[in-house]
């Protein structure tokens, strides 16, 4: 789960990492009041879960009230990569001397977190990694956390000033600790700035929390911003489905993530465009099938739906029953192509047959069929 900048900064502040003061506003008046408390110039920052907000016009420095009213008004309500901005962060403008990067990711190869710091701050770390890899220092994190001596080495890598190094080292130790205790999979300060007075501040913050760990962090789970997500994805999560919306025309209902990806790929291979990733999971609860159909029929771009079910633990007859349930309850006006094989395949075919539905057994054949039906429906 991605956290907003203001939420991430809140966690950093609680972890003892210096962040600039800030207030979140969803109305221009509130933004003005906050700015007056801080004193101008302030920065108005759109709170949306995408990178590159600055380039997209979602971050502005303003020098007075009029300026702020105009910019806050513009940003509140704008769309950034399809996401509506409903909140801005108002924060005093900092006198930046130098900008660095500090971030922790999960290093899957080493099966442990990895701290990366770079004196090339404020820009995308992946770009730095490609263009100037020598500008990144990588420090593997083990069960000890970040030993002080390593934090000092990282601080020396970033800044020449011993006084600044002494401020940076504890920030890195706390960042590593926060990553651990909050069950993060990413924790990033970009930029970590040194101000002209030698202060060190986390000017931007990004934390991603491990979805699998939210159960033990009710405080973090409560930070989820539903307004920042696709309604279909919200419904899917609520119903225990794994769903990702895409921009194609062929909806897919599949059991198993790998098979679901392979189905999308096969649609593209045969010339179609998948509208989504959707995994109904291992169980064969008919309600999940109905929920899946509800989500797909809510996407106006979907022209046809493909069911691709390989019965193992999932029983084909349960899926067939779920499909019929969906057809009864929802007004489904788009064609459906069904591919079933495996456990209780015969029973499933019988159930479907009673309603005049035919199930294919070959995956390629089914994909070609659904592409044809979608083309007809367009």
């Amino acid at each position: 789960m991605n956290l907003h900048e203001y939420q991430s900064k809140g966690l950093f502040r609680a972890a003892g990492i210096p962040v600039p003061p800030g207030e979140v506003a969803s109305r221009v008046e509130d933004a003005l009041q906050a700015a007056e408390r801080f004193g101008y110039p302030v920065v108005v920052k759109a709170q949306v879960l995408i990178g590159g907000r600055g380039k997209a016009g979602g971050i502005k420095v303003v020098r007075g009230g009029e300026d702020l009213s105009r910019e806050a008004g513009r940003i509140l309500g704008m769309e950034l990569r399809g996401l509506k901005v409903s909140r801005v962060l108002i924060t005093p403008s900092a006198d930046i001397a130098r900008e660095y990067y500090a971030g922790i990711v999960l290093d899957r190869r080493n099966e442990a977190p990895l701290l990366m710091v770079s004196p090339a701050g404020g820009i995308d770390i992946e770009e730095v990694a490609r263009a100037t890899p020598e500008k990144i220092l990588r420090i593997p994190i083990d069960a000890r956390g970040l030993p002080t001596y390593r934090a000092r080495a990282a601080a020396r890598f970033l800044d020449k000033d011993p006084a600044v190094q002494k401020r940076i080292a504890p920030i890195l130790i706390r960042l590593v600790h926060a990553y651990h205790v909050q069950d993060a999979t990413l924790a990033e300060i970009n930029p970590l700035v040194v101000t002209k007075t030698g202060e060190v501040l986390a000017l931007d913050a990004k934390i991603v929390i491990d979805d699998s760990a939210l159960d033990r962090h009710p405080d973090l789970a409560a930070m989820r911003d539903l307004s920042a997500e696709d309604p279909g994805e919200i419904e899917a999560r609520a119903r225990g489905l794994s769903y990702v919306k895409l921009d194609g025309t062929i909806g897919c209902v599949v059991n198993g993530a790998g098979l679901a990806m392979a189905t999308m790929d096969l649609i593209q291979f045969h010339g179609g465009k998948p509208a989504n990733f959707l995994d109904i999971g291992g169980s064969s609860n008919p309600d999940k099938v109905e929920a899946a159909m509800h989500i797909l029929t809510g996407d106006s771009r979907v022209r046809a739906v493909l069911f691709n079910i390989f019965g193992g633990i999932t029983r084909c007859d349960d899926v067939a029953r779920g499909l019929l349930l969906a057809l009864d309850r929802l007004k489904v006006r788009i064609p459906i192509v069904i591919r079933l094989t495996g456990t209780n395949e015969r029973e499933a075919r019988e159930i479907l047959g009673e309603r005049g539905l035919i199930a294919l057994s070959d995956m390629d054949e089914a994909v070609r069929a659904v592409i044809a039906r979608a083309a007809e429906a367009a």
Partner: protein, 317 residues
Amino acid sequence: MSVLVGRGTKVVVQGITGRDGSFHTRGMLDYGTKVVAGVTPGKGGEEVHSVPVFDSVEEAVAKTGANCSVIYVPAALAQDAIYEAVDSGIPLVVCISEGIPVRDMVEVSAYMRGRGGRLVGPNCPGLISPGSCKVGIMPGTIAKPGKVGVVSRSGTLTYEVVWQLTRAGLGQSTCIGIGGDPIVGTRFADMLSLYEEDRGTEAIVLIGEIGGSDEEDAATLIRRAITKPVVAFIAGQTAPPGKRMGHAGAIVSGGSGTAQEKMARFQEAGIPVAKTPSEIPGLIAAALRPKRKSKLKLVRGKAKRSAPAKASRRRRR
């Protein structure tokens, strides 16, 4: 012939009295797997499908000689279940549980380093050595004994491929799902080495997906040390970046871990990459054709796992 599990495997089921544990114990018993014990704390003395239940793995091992554990406990309890199995000296621990926090697995990984014992999974379907033993949740009916080793990060996609192999008359030595999480106990490279050593395996199917660099590491290993033919397939070519595709580990982040990159690495290593699942049986059949097979034997006879072997192998392709 098979790897990891076979006729000598004696299974203890952790979480046997749960819904999943009980259901799949039935499935394993029906397949002929020697399920010798179950563990559910506080239910010692009970029975599930005539399998005795113990309070602890230690007791189960002492009383039944179990040498493989399969874990069906809820995600929040899975780390402890793995610790219990490993600490009890179980050499093969298969964790089916899905949704284990990454931090728990980071800790398990650090703990197991340097200790004995192999973990398969978590978030995996387990493994099957057709005709002799199945551990986990794979449907036994799709597989048949043979010479193809299958290793995969997914569940149903594995079934799909195994089923297609079986229909094409290509039986399997062992099929394993290593799990879809970012951190898993057994990786592609581990399985490739096991299949390479296994005299019953003559070709290998590797089913990867987006995310991480396990496929890339596998490609490097194959180039260096695997003499048997490998056919690869990678799922997720159409996955958008930054989105988790069902599996916690199936995510393209920061432009790395794409299907395209992985496919390219296999192709550079001279390994055929199937464009669709249905292409796999044909590619395997081609790899096993008698003419090639004799060459392969010659190569292995000369210098197994050495530079000359590698060179010959490249020529072969």
